[in-house]
């Protein structure tokens, strides 16, 4: 009996070759920008923030 093999068209048809959804692109670039912000804010060498300092402040209250 012949084996049914796949035609690539069954997966990637011309009529369904959509561009990237705009909402998804916003998410993608937004998270990259957020990552830059977060890294700068929470890197001891850049912002001076450290886990230890944050802890000491939290128990002062």
């Amino acid at each position: 009996m012949a084996e049914d093999l796949d035609n690539i068209d069954a997966f990637e048809a011309k009529e369904t070759s959509h561009k990237l959804p705009i909402g998804w692109l916003v998410l993608f670039w937004g998270l990259i920008l957020w990552g830059v912000y977060y890294f700068v804010t929470y890197s001891p060498a850049i912002s001076g923030w450290t886990q230890e300092k944050a802890y000491q402040e939290s128990i002062k209250k």
Partner: protein, 464 residues
């Protein structure tokens, strides 16, 4: 017997083996869930929680998970490259070695042998055997792809390639250790370095065992069972590259608030949060694909497995990154929230998608139809309900534990003793066992359906 039939039998061998180890793992999971609230269900020394938990995770991740990955990857590989496996005999030997390896792994874990590294418990002789097993897999995957008869490489092939490479790198590096006897070794890395390497490995085991190969199945079997081409090939490729790039940096989120340098933790969190985008690329692609004809949810019984699977993948990949944030981690880390999270992924996404793929493959191999769609539907609803009860109870206990552990009196002393926080979990732990039981019954329906399909297929073959 033609070449494909021989390879198909190898695929079937892997699928049946993986289901077998799945049953072992699930039954043990049920037992350890009872042990949490009924300590007398520990039977020392072999059947105590400490040993059984590793047997549970290993038999499900490496037995059910990797077994299904081997079999279904080979199935996908042959069809997308339009040729049989390059080394069919090697794949068959790999199948036997796989089962011997998992059995040996279970025995050593029962005996209490462990490297004490999570998901890398197996001692060094077994590690070497596993590397050999993986090389056999790699040789067949790359050989078959190089000699492929279809030039275009569909996204599933990329995900399989990523799985092969990443698991090899992760497994070898994290298992580097100095043997001091046949069954005992020490990690090559010490202290914080050991922790960092271990969680780089541990988190990417999730990435390259529970994510990339399962996405390969999802992208292949969803269009196959619905007959709808994927919404966007471009989206799938961009999601793929950004996923594999970002994943390997994320392990440090397991070590938030530890002696690991602050900047490494921060970097790990940044990449972890970014992972939402590539993960949701696949979620969006799945929804939009079926979105062109939602009727398929009613007319094709496998559609709902895939859509529910990708939904839990979507929830998982928002919940997981959120857990990495310091403010969330300090509440839920080391609590039941984490196993709740893991089980939504494994029971909701991995098992759901894998089971649907097996439903698709087994009848194809035997040129027959599935034994009963009705049984498959019962299976679907039972595992869905079971998994939801399981995950939700663990999230509740997790938040409760975290809040009680953090509660302090005005003078800074702890408000609750450990036992007080423990006993509050009991009703939820009992409910979890109920959820696990419902899930297990659902899986029995699945196994029955597969068994009957194989039986019917074999009878038809014998007649022909």
């Amino acid at each position: 017997m033609n070449d494909y039939q021989y390879d198909n039998q190898t695929v079937k061998g892997f699928v049946v083996s993986s289901v077998f180890w799945g049953v072992v793992g699930i039954v043990i999971g049920l037992l350890i869930s009872i042990q949490m609230w009924r300590p007398e269900f520990n039977f020392a020394p072999f059947f105590t929680f400490g040993r059984l938990r590793t047997v549970h995770t290993n038999s499900l991740a490496f037995g059910l998970g990797v077994g299904a990955i081997f079999g279904l990857s080979y199935y996908i590989l042959m069809r997308l490259t339009k040729r049989p496996l390059l080394f069919p005999k090697l794949a068959r030997i790999q199948l036997y070695l796989f089962n011997i390896g998992i059995a040996a792994a279970a025995v050593t874990l029962f005996m209490g042998m462990t490297q004490s590294l999570e998901y890398a418990e197996l001692e060094w002789p077994l590690d070497i055997a596993i590397v050999i097993l993986w090389v056999m897999f790699a040789v067949n995957v790359f050989g078959t792809i190089i000699k492929r008869k279809e030039e275009q490489m569909y996204i599933s092939l990329w995900y399989i390639i990523a799985t092969v490479i990443a698991v090899a790198v992760l497994y070898i590096i994290n298992n580097l250790s100095i043997p001091v006897g046949p069954f005992k070794s020490y990690h090559l890395f010490a202290g914080v370095n050991s922790a960092n390497v271990e969680w780089w490995y541990g988190h990417n085991a999730v990435g390259f065992v529970f994510t990339t190969p399962i996405l390969a199945m999802f992208y292949y079997f969803l269009p196959k069972s619905t007959g709808i081409p994927i919404f966007s090939h471009r989206l799938s490729i961009i999601s793929f590259w950004s996923l594999v790039f970002a994943y390997l940096w994320t392990g440090a989120h397991h070590l938030v608030y530890t002696p690991l340098p602050d900047w490494i933790q921060t970097l790990g969190i940044v990449f972890t949060i970014f992972l939402i985008a590539p993960s949701w690329g696949s979620v969006v692609n799945g929804y939009y694909t079926v979105g062109s004809d939602w009727d398929k949810m009613n007319t094709q019984y496998l559609t709902k497995f895939f859509i529910m699977g990708i939904t839990f993948y979507g929830l998982q990949t928002v919940q997981g990154p959120t857990q990495g944030l310091r403010v969330v981690s300090q509440l839920i880390h080391y609590t039941d929230w984490v196993p709740g999270h893991v089980h939504m992924g494994t029971m909701g996404w991995v098992t759901m998608t894998t089971a649907a793929s097996i439903y698709y493959v087994i009848p194809k191999i035997y040129h027959t139809e599935i034994y009963s769609i009705k049984v498959a539907n019962i299976h679907f609803w039972l595992v869905l309900i079971g998994q939801l009860i399981f995950s939700i109870t663990m999230w509740i206990t997790g938040i409760q534990q975290g809040a009680l552990w953090k509660a302090v009196n005005d003078d800074g002393s702890l408000k609750y003793s450990f036992v007080e926080t423990l006993t509050k979990n009991y009703p939820f732990w009992q409910l979890r066992t109920v959820g696990g039981l419902i899930f297990t019954v659902g899986m029995l329906f699945f196994i029955y359906n597969i068994y009957m399909t194989i039986r019917r297929g074999s009878l038809a073959e014998a007649k022909a």
